[in-house]
């Protein structure tokens, strides 16, 4: 199957124009085209994964195929060679399967969720374009191609966040997402420009060979740090996380696919793909680890006080992405990618579950829900499985992958980050089960009744629920040739289980769930009283630490202020000067006009005077007057 890898992004790429130009008016056919394309990609991806693992393609010896996309000849060899190429190794193969599988399930789900939406076909065309771009990003064999598709997934994100463009909030959110990511991409681009400057190539494999021999480590660290800005934007790390919660304005399947499972994970994927660049630079690794760790904690605290079901999940996503980035930073690419994989399944499940609730109630505030478990058995059941997986309760998927990260932090000597990660695990369990106890149990607070969603929506939920249970086993410590022997950096190492770490993380998760039940299930303490008691802190956290307000102030006052100043300067200084030159010409013309009086005597006089002057001037040497 490996020789057909180029088909994986191609299928959905073809589905996009077909839907736009051919089947747009035939709604169901559009959906079918989109689903068929991604299903085909999924089949090929699975084939690739099997073959990659069987054929023993390793991280050190990837399979690469490339064509020249843009090449500029120089005096010796190519001055610039940009390839359209495919790089296949276990990392690629795993990511391909994750992306195509989640995309397939989300597209099936969307048939039910988007039913009756006037933009039904357009929605499927965008999803196809997104899948194509995302898969292109995954298979890319060089920085340029990755950046190319990196931008395209950003475009799809923009289009899909603003899918309900009639809503001003959606339009604003899409703009915010794009511009925030642009800031990050600016850094990313500079980063790989510096790499090009040092090594003259964008190709990952060639860079991997050249980087260890780099002489100027300072410059290399600068390049690596700049490249890392890309993931800070795309994977919504602090301080560029602000776009992701707002991105929830998009339709919920989009939140599941793009803003939880795949696109936002692209930043983590980039870190894994270019791991060799970072691994040799302890200073940069430290930055990565702490940015990730801080983001994980920061976002989790905000998630604790949100009321909107999707926003809770959004902050949870930011927090979990922080985990993955932290894993990369502490040096365990395996753990980061493992968590990316399991997270893709259970977070997609949670978002689709939330979508099912929203579909039924048309309400997103969890405090206006309640008792949903009675009306929506499948949704509630699968949602709870997803939440347990996210909270890290054994033996569900999240337990194994989160443990791997904590263990990596612990065993690599990052005790602070390990403790921080444990606190996050507690918070995660707490905010998820706060959501569950409030929304799915207890009384119907606003009298809203749910109803179960159609099979197109529940089947993907069930499939994802199964994956949320079992997908962790592939990386569990007792599995001999599991995830860590596929995706690794350097040497594949089998991690010995550390029962202290395992026990602690499980204990704090259970504690979190218990506390959530205590406050929101049993209602032993009034959560309103609590928030009144800690009003200052509550306000600060509920308002997301006022980061958005700070950015808005900066944009409105500083950026727009400067722009207005430039505009004024252009109109009142530059323009005045040049118009002034014109006016000067006109003015002097008006003055000089008086020389042309039309009076012959005056002309005669001037003529005579001129002759006199000339004669004197000519005669001066002869007469010997003026020297």
């Amino acid at each position: 199957m490996m020789e057909y890898a180029w088909l994986v992004p191609l299928f959905p790429a073809l589905a996009f124009p077909v839907i736009v130009f051919v089947t747009r008016r035939l709604r169901l056919l559009s959906a079918l085209v989109g689903i068929a394309a991604i299903a085909a990609s999924f089949v090929v991806s699975v084939g690739i994964l099997v073959e990659v693992l069987q054929a023993g393609v390793t991280m050190e010896q990837p399979v690469e195929k490339a064509l020249n996309w843009l090449a500029i000849p120089g005096p010796e060899g190519w001055l610039l060679k940009i390839e359209a190429g495919i790089l296949l190794d276990p990392l690629t193969a795993v990511m391909l399967v994750v992306v195509t599988l989640v995309a397939l399930l989300v597209e099936i789900y969307s048939v039910g969720y988007m039913h009756g939406d006037p933009g039904f076909s357009v929605f499927f065309s965008y999803l196809s374009l997104f899948s194509a771009s995302m898969l292109g990003l995954v298979v890319a064999n060089n920085f340029f191609m990755m950046f190319f598709f990196w931008e395209l997934v950003g475009l799809c994100s923009y289009l899909l966040i603003g899918f309900y463009f009639h809503k001003p909030e959606a339009a604003r959110a899409s703009l915010k997402a794009f511009v925030t990511n642009r800031v990050a991409d600016f850094g990313f681009m500079l980063g790989f420009f510096f790499l090009f400057l040092m090594f003259g190539t964008f190709n990952f494999r060639e860079l991997a060979e050249a980087v260890p021999h780099a002489e100027n480590l300072g410059l290399l660290a600068l390049a690596a740090a700049l490249v890392f800005i890309g993931p800070i934007g795309k994977s919504a790390q602090f301080p560029l996380h602000v776009w992701l919660p707002d991105a929830m304005e998009g339709p919920t399947p989009v939140s599941a696919l793009i803003h939880a499972a795949t696109m936002v994970a692209a930043g983590v994927y980039l870190l894994a793909r270019a791991f060799v660049l970072f691994a040799g630079l302890p200073s940069v690794m430290l930055i990565i680890a702490y940015v990730g760790g801080f983001t994980a904690l920061f976002a989790a605290t905000i998630g604790v006080v949100q009321r909107d079901i999707k926003r809770i999940l959004a902050y949870s996503t930011i927090s979990q992405l922080g985990y993955m980035v932290m894993a990369m930073g502490v040096g365990s690419m395996t753990a980061g990618m493992f968590h990316l994989t399991t997270h893709a399944f259970f977070k997609a499940l949670l978002f689709l579950g939330a979508g099912s609730v929203i579909h039924a109630l048309n309400e997103q505030d969890i405090f206006r829900m309640g008792g949903l478990a009675r009306d929506m058995k499948i949704t509630a059941g699968t949602f709870i499985i997803g939440a347990l997986a996210l909270a890290g309760i054994p033996p569900l998927a999240g337990f194994w992958s989160k443990d791997e990260i904590l263990l990596a932090a612990y065993s690599h000597g990052y005790t602070g980050l390990y403790l921080l990660g444990t606190v996050v695990a507690f918070l995660t369990a707490f905010y998820m089960f706060r959501l569950i106890f409030v929304a799915f149990f207890g009384p119907r607070r606003a009298g809203l009744h749910g109803h179960e969603s159609p099979w197109t929506m529940t089947v993907p939920l069930l499939v994802l629920a199964v994956l949320s249970v079992v997908s962790g086993f592939m990386g569990a410590p007792f599995v001999a040739h599991g995830f860590s022997s596929w995706v690794y950096f350097g040497e594949p190492h089998h991690v010995e289980p550390n029962y202290v770490v395992m026990f602690t993380s499980t204990a704090v998760a259970i504690l979190g769930i218990y506390l959530a039940w205590f406050i929101y299930g049993r209602e032993a303490v009034s959560h309103e009283a609590l928030s009144r008691r800690w009003q200052g802190v509550y306000r600060l956290v509920y308002n997301k630490y006022y980061v958005d307000e700070a950015y808005l102030w900066f944009f409105r006052r500083v950026v727009l202020g400067l722009a207005e100043a430039f505009n004024w300067h252009d109109r009142n200084v530059v323009d005045r000067i040049f118009d002034g030159v014109g006016d000067l010409v006109r003015w002097s013309g008006r003055r000089l006009r008086y020389l042309q009086t039309g009076h012959l005597p005056v002309y005669g006089l001037v003529l005579f005077a001129a002759v006199v002057v000339l004669v004197i001037w000519a005669a001066a040497p002869v007469i010997g007057g003026i020297r």
Partner: protein, 509 residues
């Protein structure tokens, strides 16, 4: 004698112009069809030339030579290379789509199309001639009709804008003329005979002092047209006042005449002079990029936004010229083409909206995507091209320019500033551009449906021609950039060879 391909391209609009002269004013449709056919012929021949050009061979091709004024060595000689051929294609595409964008005009359209075709003849001529005398002649032919086109058919302060534009451009071309005469005299002295042949004139060894002086004249003369900051103000005002097709040609093609002149006459003749003045260009173009984009952010009129965006985007072209290496120059020429197409698309769309809504004030719009989904889609594609989204042609151009400038090791003021830093500043322009472009998209097309604009009809029929053609071109060369960049390289390579062979000259800064 082979088929005179380039003369045919040049004559297609001229014949159209003559035919329109004899068609009565009331036959409006016939006039438009004649213009469309004439420009289509030019387009078809240009596409043929583009495809038939032999890249292996490179250099000037499709040569034609006629002796014109033997006493002064003036020849009617045509030819295109990897730099001029994309410009010819650009001109053909923009004028062809521009005719369709003017389909709704009713006021004195006979004269309108006559001047329009005259203008475009001049532009074609500049890009195809190999004779410096004709170069200047065609240059003036392209500038003069602009005055009438804006003054008569324009809007918003049209007389002021037309006069402003004409004065700026004429003063600029006066500088260029002095430079051309001086270099003609200098070269004739050296050669011992009179010639205006560009290729021959370029072989002359010009004294460095002379080069520095004349390149400065060229920089001012052609720089006004690019436009280089602070000589740019004719362009936003001119854009805003001009009727749709004229805006398209004006921003799409006319600005490229400046950059083309700067490359063909400036850098090609005076590589040492170019090296001397390049740091000045590099610094000024950053002002273009950043300052222009910032000002675009606070404009209230759609056309002003695009006008200032052109100032900003042409700054990238100047950066490409200033860095004087293969990547950057290839990028500059690519950007000239890509920006021409993109800005023509913008003006076609804004013209479409303005024609129906009679306003261009952004604040009055909102939710137009409900009434005009196709226009909105076109505008979004143009916007994405403008902010440098991969997959569209502008990205390729900007990427090459950025990389070219970034990899240049030249420093300014003894290391206080370097091209690398300037490149970083230029790249920051992509953030500002994304902000203002998408803000305009959001304010104009997104948001709730406004009943006030339910009268607006979406683009349909001939109105779709410019949108579809221009978007397709952006996509085609964006997805398969080697279709154009390979060609451009054949033109840039000899230029770079000449620059590299030139003596090392310290920059002005």
């Amino acid at each position: 004698m082979s088929f005179p391909l380039l003369t045919s391209i040049l004559l297609a609009p001229v014949i159209g112009l003559i035919l329109i002269l004899i068609i009565p004013e009331r036959e409006q449709l016939l006039i438009k069809i004649t213009a469309a056919v004439a420009t289509f012929v030019a387009l078809a021949l240009s596409v043929y030339a583009y495809v038939a050009y032999d890249q292996q061979l490179g250099g000037m091709q499709f040569l034609e030579d006629r002796v014109w004024v033997p006493a002064f060595g003036i020849n009617y000689s045509l030819g295109v290379d990897g730099i001029s051929l994309p410009m010819v294609l650009l001109t053909a595409i923009v004028i062809f789509t521009g005719v369709f964008a003017s389909w709704d005009m009713t006021n004195r359209i006979k004269e309108f199309f006559i001047f329009l075709l005259m203008l475009v003849t001049g532009v074609f001529g500049v890009f195809m001639t190999r004779d410096l005398f004709f170069f200047y002649l065609f240059f003036e032919v392209a500038v003069i009709p602009m005055y009438l086109l804006i003054g008569i058919w324009g809007s918003t302060r049209k007389e002021y804008a037309a006069m402003k534009l004409t004065l700026y451009l004429l003063v600029g071309s006066a500088f260029a003329l002095i430079g051309i005469i001086a270099l003609f005299l200098y070269a004739s002295n050296q050669l011992g005979y009179l010639t205006f042949d560009i290729q021959t004139l370029a072989t002359v060894e010009y004294d460095i002092g002379f080069q520095k002086f004349i390149f400065f004249l060229m920089l001012v003369g052609f720089g006004v047209l690019v436009p280089i900051w602070p000589l740019h103000l004719w362009s936003p005002d001119g854009h805003v006042a001009a009727p749709t097709a004229v805006s398209m040609l004006h921003a799409g093609v006319l600005m490229k005449l400046g950059a083309y002149g700067l490359i063909r006459v400036g850098v090609f003749f005076f590589p040492e002079g170019a090296k001397f003045w390049a740091p000045l260009i590099a610094v000024l173009c950053i002002v273009n990029v950043v300052y222009g984009a910032m000002i675009a952010m606070v404009q209230r009129d759609l056309k002003f936004v695009i006008g200032y965006s052109s100032v900003s985007h042409m700054g990238y072209v100047l950066l490409g010229i200033a860095a004087l290496n293969t990547l950057s120059l290839s990028g500059a020429v690519t950007q000239m083409f890509a920006h021409g197409i993109m800005t023509a698309l913008f003006f076609a769309l804004v013209g479409n909206i303005y024609h129906k809504a009679h306003t261009r004030e952004i604040a009055r719009f909102g939710g137009l995507a409900h009434q005009m989904p196709k226009v909105a889609a076109g505008f979004l594609i143009g916007g994405l091209a403008s902010l440098g989204l991969p997959g569209l042609h502008n990205f390729v151009a900007e990427f090459l320019i950025f990389l070219g400038a970034f990899t240049s090791d030249q420093v300014l003021w003894g290391g206080l500033l370097s091209y690398r830093v300037l490149a970083v500043l230029a790249i920051s322009g992509i953030v500002i551009t994304a902000t203002y472009v998408l803000r305009v998209v959001q304010k104009t097309f997104f948001g709730p449906r406004k009943a006030e604009w339910d009268v607006l009809e979406d683009a349909r029929g001939v109105e779709l021609v410019p949108i579809v053609v221009l978007c397709s071109v952006l996509l085609l060369f964006g997805l398969f950039p080697s279709l154009m960049v390979d060609l451009i390289n054949t033109g840039v390579a000899p230029l770079v060879a000449k620059i590299e062979a030139a003596k090392a000259v310290g920059g002005i800064f």
